[in-house]
């Protein structure tokens, strides 16, 4: 029992540490490993995107471990499980008489089959139920900003002391507080899950978790499992204490191994020490008929599978459903900018598990989760909000960290060519065009040298033009545009390059693009012949 707590704290600590490294480090190693341990996350992604990646192997290992050691992942490793155990303590107490439902327990299998059905249709809803996707989003998008906010406040409070003692690392510490959209939706979901402790502990793991379901199927009679000796007096204490309701009430000597997470609570509470966990040791045992704990009707099975496939079909026929090829009649959400290196939309959405790692890892906070902008199947998917932050053409952290390669991991040069869109000037909002003011901020900040200022008759100041084939869509111009609220220069998805494979540079050159960073070369702009230098008066 205590041993398990130690392991749980260590694994949750490791999970959070890796997440923290993803926030602060440029190329964190294996930051996504926990996500890839989630069997349902890798399985559904493999089916919906029709791919298999070596990166998926950890999830399969967890799955194949089930026939050996049961749902040990749920009891010891899963950060969602540990978080819920913590939540049970905070939001408890667990009622004396737990809510037990054999019917509700089937829901997790229905969820599993629903997800499979949808994935077979090419649509991934794994984000709605994968425990690792959920818990990563919770820590990354809800708690991380709160932590950042509090740290920022703490630094402000300590600053006078730091100034006085001249501790400059603290006096000048500037903590960027990340901000995210949709965090209330994530929070509400977790509030509901935490509240369920009022019915029973680990409500989510018992009744709803599809990873729990697939692991349950694979751990019907694992080699390492709960065994009860003939000393058992049928007192039923273990039945009352089991957090997973894995012990049948009428026969405490038996175990629904598929439900058991090897927490060994029963072993601790047994007054006659009749419970042991491990492999057979030759002691006299109560005979163990297999009790699957799965009483799913054929009808239920078929219905949920069909419901999943049906939902996929409806998604595929929705107005916003992504097409394979851009073309006439295609309705795509205006202004939807995907991160650089994001695959073509359908492929991208079938892979993206909405864990939020890319958003938490983005150093400028420009990657934001969507709610319904990209349709029902695009919930929590990442989008660039240039007003919030720029997309540095030298940065590819999102691609580096993506567990399913929905955003591709690109080399430095390829990254520059991964054009996310093109800037467009709203002349009626522009300070130079409309208000005839001296403003050239878009040109000043553009890393691609894609803004050109030209004279207009009747305007004392030169006005900006976008050189489209030099624009990488990074959003520096939109971000820094001094016009309030919506900027006068806005990045639109026009001209974005989305590739499932192959070279962005080759594609870009084929499109006639001239993407090059200012810092790289010395391509001198032509000196204006005649007239005066910009900003001077005659």
């Amino acid at each position: 029992m205590r041993f398990r707590r130690v392991i749980q704290v260590i694994t949750l600590g490791l999970f959070l540490l890796l997440l923290l490294l993803a926030f602060v480090s440029e190329s964190p190693a294996a930051a996504d490993i926990f996500l890839r341990l989630d069997p349902i996350l890798v399985m559904i992604t493999a089916v919906s995107a029709r791919i298999f990646r070596p990166a998926f192997i950890p999830g399969l290992v967890v799955l194949l471990l089930a026939p050996v050691a049961g749902r040990i992942f749920c009891g010891y490793v899963c950060p969602m499980g540990t978080t819920l155990d913590g939540g049970d303590r905070i939001f408890g107490p667990v009622p004396r008489k737990q809510f037990r439902s054999e019917t509700l327990r089937m829901v997790k299998y229905l969820v599993l089959i629903f997800l499979m059905g949808a994935a077979a249709g090419g649509i991934s809803f794994v984000f709605a139920a994968s425990p690792l996707s959920l818990v990563t989003r919770f820590y990354g998008l809800v708690l991380y900003p709160v932590l950042g906010f509090l740290s920022h406040r703490a630094v402000e409070l300590l600053r006078p002391v730091a100034d006085y003692l001249d501790i400059r690392s603290l006096a000048y510490a500037q903590i960027d507080v990340p901000k995210f959209a949709t965090q209330f939706f994530v929070l509400s979901f977790f509030a509901a899950i935490f509240a369920m402790v009022r019915f029973s502990p680990r409500f989510w793991c018992r009744y709803l978790c599809p990873s729990g379901a697939i692991l349950a199927i694979f751990s019907q009679k694992p080699i390492i499992r709960r065994r009860v000796s003939e000393d058992c007096t049928d007192c039923g204490k273990c039945v009352r204490k089991c957090p997973m309701n894995a012990i049948p009430g009428d026969s405490p000597g038996l175990t629904r191994s598929g439900e058991c997470i090897i927490c060994q609570t029963c072993k601790g509470v047994c007054p006659v020490s009749a419970v042991s966990f491990g492999i057979e040791k030759g002691l006299p045992r109560i005979p163990e008929p297999l009790i699957t704990g799965i009483s799913l009707s054929r009808r239920g099975f078929i219905y949920s599978g069909v419901a999943g496939a049906g939902t996929a079909l409806v998604s595929l026929t929705g107005l916003n459903a992504p097409h394979d090829k851009a073309g006439e009649g295609q309705v795509a959400p205006p202004g939807l900018i995907r991160p650089p290196g994001a695959r073509p939309e359908a492929d991208f959405l079938s892979r993206c598990v909405r864990c939020g790692e890319c958003m938490a890892a983005c150093p400028t906070n420009t990657i934001q989760p969507l709610w319904l902008t990209a349709g029902f199947t695009g919930i929590f998917s990442p989008s660039l909000i240039s007003r919030r932050g720029v997309c540095d053409p030298k940065c590819n952290r999102c691609g580096h960290i993506c567990p399913t390669d929905a955003i591709r991991n690109l080399s430095k040069n390829e990254r520059i060519w991964a054009k996310t869109g093109t800037a467009m000037i709203f002349r009626q909002k522009c300070l130079a065009w409309e208000y005839q003011k001296s403003c050239m901020v878009c040109d000043e900040v553009c890393p691609f040298n894609a803004i050109e200022f030209k004279r207009e008759p009747g305007n004392p100041f030169a006005v900006p033009h976008v050189i489209e084939d030099k624009c990488g869509g990074c959003g520096y111009c939109e971000h820094f545009c001094p016009v309030n609220n919506q900027a006068a220069i806005v990045v639109t998805p026009m001209g974005e390059i989305r590739l499932a494979g192959g070279s962005y540079e080759k594609e870009g050159r084929g499109m006639g693009l001239r993407l090059q960073l200012k810092t790289g070369g010395y391509n001198l702009p032509p000196v204006e012949a005649g007239g005066s230098a910009p900003g001077f008066e005659e």
Partner: protein, 309 residues
């Protein structure tokens, strides 16, 4: 300097005035370096970046004329772009370092080199070469400040377009402010020199473009008046400024003055901008600063001294 520095400035003048009175009354003669006003209005030194910087400041009576023992100094270079020195969009690292050394020699208790960058701070510091150059003196004195809690709202008295702005608290606390810009063209403001460079010490620069940029620069400069301006014209970004890339001239020159308007005016008239010569009054913020009494652009009436080192 900012409004809350006025008392300090006032006291400074009182003491100075007192000394003059004493001198006059007693008929004593003073060593030349205390009577700093006999020096040139604009000092120009030609040579390598560090040597020219030192020589230019020496001509104005040396750094001790500006920085007293125990003073807190803020140096404001251009280090806001992730470009190397030869691109001339940042101040030359050796100019920045030499200024810091001079301040240290004069007995400054605290020297801060500050800017509010447009690109990733670490990258700017690295590629500009400024971090490496100043590391040997004190690697904590360079700070890139972007966090709003490190700025303080400051009213601008007698403003013409920008009535208040948020200024770095460090600057408000400082005794001496030194402008150390690189000489460069600026597509919005004509040139970016001592006055325009002060935009790196305020929080909301965006709003200045929504106002009249030139007038707003003068408003800002009226509360961020440098005690000493040292313009790095070892390289001049003649076209394509402020970020470049553009045509880079190499006059190997450093211009120093305690009048930021005069220093800017001299820099404008000394170099070609986009292939043409201009007069200081053709840059409106220089003309307005002159008209509003912030400094002088009438170079013909100023004492200019040039040396080669």
């Amino acid at each position: 300097m900012a409004k809350n520095m006025n008392r300090r400035t006032f006291l400074k003048y009182q003491v100075k005035g007192g000394l003059w009175l004493t001198a006059a009354a007693s008929g004593l003669s003073f060593p030349k370096n205390i009577l700093a006003d006999t020096g040139p209005d604009i000092a120009v030194a030609k040579g390598s970046p560090a040597a020219a910087t030192r020589a230019a400041v020496e001509m104005l009576g040396g750094m001790k004329n500006f920085v007293k023992k125990g003073n807190k100094v803020v140096i404001k270079p251009n280090m806001s772009f992730d470009t190397p020195p030869e691109r001339a969009s940042n101040t030359h690292p050796e100019v920045v370092r030499e200024l810091a050394v001079l301040c240290k020699e004069a007995g400054a208790s605290r020297i801060m080199i500050l800017d509010n960058p447009l690109r990733q701070p670490e990258v700017c510091l690295d590629i500009s070469g400024i971090a490496a150059a100043c590391k040997a003196i004190d690697d904590r004195m360079i700070q890139m400040i972007t966090d709003s809690s490190l700025f303080q709202e400051t009213p601008i008295p007698d403003s013409a377009s920008m009535s208040k702005t948020d200024i770095m608290k460090d600057v408000l606390r400082a005794d001496v402010l030194i402008a150390a810009p690189v000489a460069k063209s600026h597509s919005g403001a004509g040139v970016s020199l001592s006055m325009k460079g002060m935009m790196g010490l305020i929080y909301n620069r965006r709003v200045m473009h929504t106002l009249d940029l030139h007038t707003a620069i003068v408003d800002m400069a009226s509360v961020l008046k440098a005690d000493l301006s040292v313009i790095d014209a070892t390289r001049v970004l003649s076209t394509g400024g402020p970020g470049g890339p553009g045509k880079v001239l190499k006059p190997d020159m450093v211009i120093a003055s305690k009048d930021m308007v005069a220093a800017d005016a001299y820099a404008v008239s000394s170099f070609e901008w986009y292939g043409k010569k201009y007069k200081p009054e053709q840059v409106r913020h220089i003309r307005e600063a002159h008209e509003r009494g912030l400094g002088r652009m009438d170079l013909e009436n100023l004492k200019i001294k040039t040396v080669s080192v």
